[in-house]
């Protein structure tokens, strides 16, 4: 069993653009809550409210989608749109004090996981034949990332992992999530998440990659 402290110590710093930090920054201090709340868009399931939330939080969603979509912009935009459509349905049930960024993180991760699994399934030759699809076209390389050969190789190495391992690994090593939290998000036990991460690390090491904080 890997130690729960395998995450790099500077992971918070590495995750500067991520939701948690941003959310803390965005949260108003307790003393000035009424004013701050007035400034925050009301959480009603109106299109305008969701659009306001999109403008505020789209960066988190879009970035995660780009990561799991290996830089595929169309793929990431689809995910982003679906997540905010889900948000509109779920918004009335969310409390004002709910961690909206946390909800978006969970929703985006699970959306990406489902989509990746579906893509993998549909990429199987018999399924492609069954659905009358041709050989899947290679994903449009993201110009920012794919311009760098070293990043492309790293992304391809991560993409070679099974989907669950890929997501658990990313959540743990890149997002600094605890195994327990990963388990809650993905619906698995902490032990299973630990195994997923361990297996992913073993595979990557076998391919010659170093995984160390």
């Amino acid at each position: 069993m890997p130690s729960p402290n395998l995450a790099p110590p500077d992971v918070e710093g590495l995750l500067a653009p991520l939701a948690r930090k941003r959310l803390v920054e965005d949260r108003p201090p307790l003393g000035e809550a009424p004013q701050a709340r007035a400034a925050e868009p009301t959480r009603t399931a109106t299109p305008s409210a969701v659009e306001a939330l999109y403008r505020k939080h789209h960066g988190l969603v879009y970035r995660l989608a780009l990561r799991y979509g290996k830089g595929n912009v169309a793929w990431a935009e689809d995910i982003t749109q679906e997540v905010f459509l889900d948000l509109m349905k779920a918004l009335p049930a969310l409390d004002d004090h709910d961690d909206l960024a946390g909800w978006l993180y969970r929703a985006t991760t699970n959306r990406c996981l489902s989509r990746m699994r579906r893509d993998r399934f549909r990429a199987l030759a018999p399924i492609r034949w069954l659905f009358g699809e041709h050989q899947p076209e290679p994903q449009q390389p993201d110009t920012l990332v794919m311009a760098r050969e070293d990043l492309r190789r790293a992304i391809e190495a991560l993409d070679a992992l099974p989907v669950k391992e890929q997501v658990a690994f990313s959540m743990y090593w890149l997002d600094g999530k605890e195994q327990e939290e990963i388990g809650e998000i993905l619906g698995h036990s902490k032990g299973y998440v630990c195994k997923l991460i361990q297996r992913a690390v073993e595979r990557l090491k076998k391919d010659g990659w170093g995984v160390s904080p």
């Binding site: 659009e51 403008r55 879009y62 970035r63 935009e77 920012l144 992304i155 991560l158 160390s212």
Partner: protein, 419 residues
């Protein structure tokens, strides 16, 4: 700024994440999302069938093809199994040859038959005589079949007989006034032999309604005694009644009742109908016969009557197993005696003793002559015979050797075997 190691995966992935964080989504995305959000807010939630079903053409076609193949493979040309009860109009007893075949009235109901409909097997007009034997049908004057004199009594507008289904041995009897099958609206009619004998065109069913199973006992039955239903239009009858009726039915054809099933219980151990099967009597089974000797008037010696009875049994190829005479006013004599002859009881032959195993073959070998002195072959042979005989064996082999003139040998080997 330090350069990460060439195999530092995390550093590269984080670098990629930073690049992703700098990428802003297309502004059109917000517009598209807004449109969808407004569409979502304006419409009740619904299932996106079109998108869900898109691309399902091939799997759907595959599943349907498999189902069709399976369906067709299960559909053979054998007629559907008909078990148990049969409708009255499924019998072949369409006594009125002029009557239209009931198949014309009933469409083929097997929906699984695909392709051209099979032509009915050619059948000659029913040459069987109109049997005035008791028949059973529920009398229903309102029945189309009863109202139409041109129509045979077995015709039924809802079902048609299957010309390709051979008639069977089972027969079913119903009490008058009772419907046959549950789905048979008209049921059966008790066909009075009086009606039959009066030459009505509607021929009665013989005895029972006949069956659709088996292949042997649908032969027309000769006229027989009337079997009246129990009681005035009784709907239920005891099993004994049904059995007696079935036995009578079989007996009319020289058959014996092989099996009977009571159907449609109507309480208190009563049944509304019964299905029976007749079979040929077993010729192997010999039965005992009982007869009497003596005229019943003349007083005779019992031993004489006994001798007569014994002789009668012997003439029948049987043996007397019982003899009883009645003592009357003849003193020590009797006027009549009854006796019973039964097939002789043949004791099974005693089991043959197991064949004794032949004694094992014993052989011995020997040699005669010194190998130098030439002796006559005959003499050597006699000596070998004598040697074997002395051992209680027979000469089996003789080999002559030695450099001697013809007819002579200096040595001979022999074998004696026995017994």
């Amino acid at each position: 700024m330090t350069t990460p190691a060439p195999n530092d995966l995390l550093a590269r992935l984080r670098a990629a994440d930073e690049l992703y964080a700098e990428v802003a989504p297309d502004p059109k995305l917000e517009a598209r999302l807004g449109a969808r959000l407004r569409g979502l807010a304006g419409k009740p939630p619904r299932v996106a069938w079109s998108s869900s079903l898109r691309g399902l053409g091939r799997p759907l076609a595959l599943v349907l093809t498999c189902a069709a193949v399976l369906f067709l493979s299960l559909d053979d040309d054998t007629p559907p199994v008909r078990s148990g009860l049969v409708a009255p109009n499924q019998t072949e007893f369409a006594a009125d040859p002029d009557a239209a075949p009931a198949a014309d009235h009933a469409p083929e109901t097997n929906p699984r038959v695909v392709g051209p409909r099979r032509a009915p097997a050619p059948s000659a007009p029913d040459a069987r005589p109109v049997a005035p034997s008791p028949s059973w049908r529920v009398q229903d004057p309102s029945s189309p079949s009863d109202a139409d004199p041109e129509r045979g009594p077995l015709e039924h507008p809802r079902r048609g007989p299957r010309p390709d289904v051979p008639p069977g041995p089972r027969s079913r009897m119903h009490t008058p006034g009772e419907a046959g099958d549950a789905d048979d609206a008209e049921g059966f009619v008790f066909w009075s032999p009086t009606q039959a004998l009066s030459g009505e065109s509607r021929a009665p069913m013989y005895g029972a309604t006949g069956g659709a199973r088996g292949s042997t006992t649908s032969t027309p039955k000769p006229p027989g005694p009337v079997v009246e239903p129990p009681g005035p239009l009784a709907s239920c009858a005891t099993p004994e009644t049904w059995k007696g009726r079935a036995e009578l039915d079989c007996d009319e054809n020289g058959l014996v009742l092989a099996e009977i099933t009571y159907l449609d219980p109507c309480g208190d151990g009563l049944f509304r109908s019964a299905e029976h099967e007749c079979a040929e009597p077993d010729p192997e089974v010999d039965v005992c016969t009982t007869d009497t000797v003596g005229d019943g008037a003349t007083c005779q010696d019992p031993s004489l009557l006994k001798d007569m009875a014994s002789q009668a049994c012997q003439l029948a190829g049987q043996q007397m197993v019982d003899f009883q005479y009645t003592t009357g006013d003849c003193g020590g004599m009797t006027r009549q005696a009854s006796y019973t002859c039964c097939p002789p009881i043949v004791d099974p032959p005693p089991p043959e003793p197991p064949p004794s195993e032949p004694p094992p073959l014993v052989c011995q070998s020997g040699a005669l002559g010194d190998g130098v002195t030439c002796l006559d072959n005959g003499l050597l042979k006699d000596m070998a015979y004598a040697a074997c005989k002395e051992l209680g064996l027979s000469l089996a082999d003789l080999q002559i050797a030695g450099d001697c003139p013809a007819g002579q040998a200096s040595k001979v080997g022999f074998s004696c075997c026995g017994p």
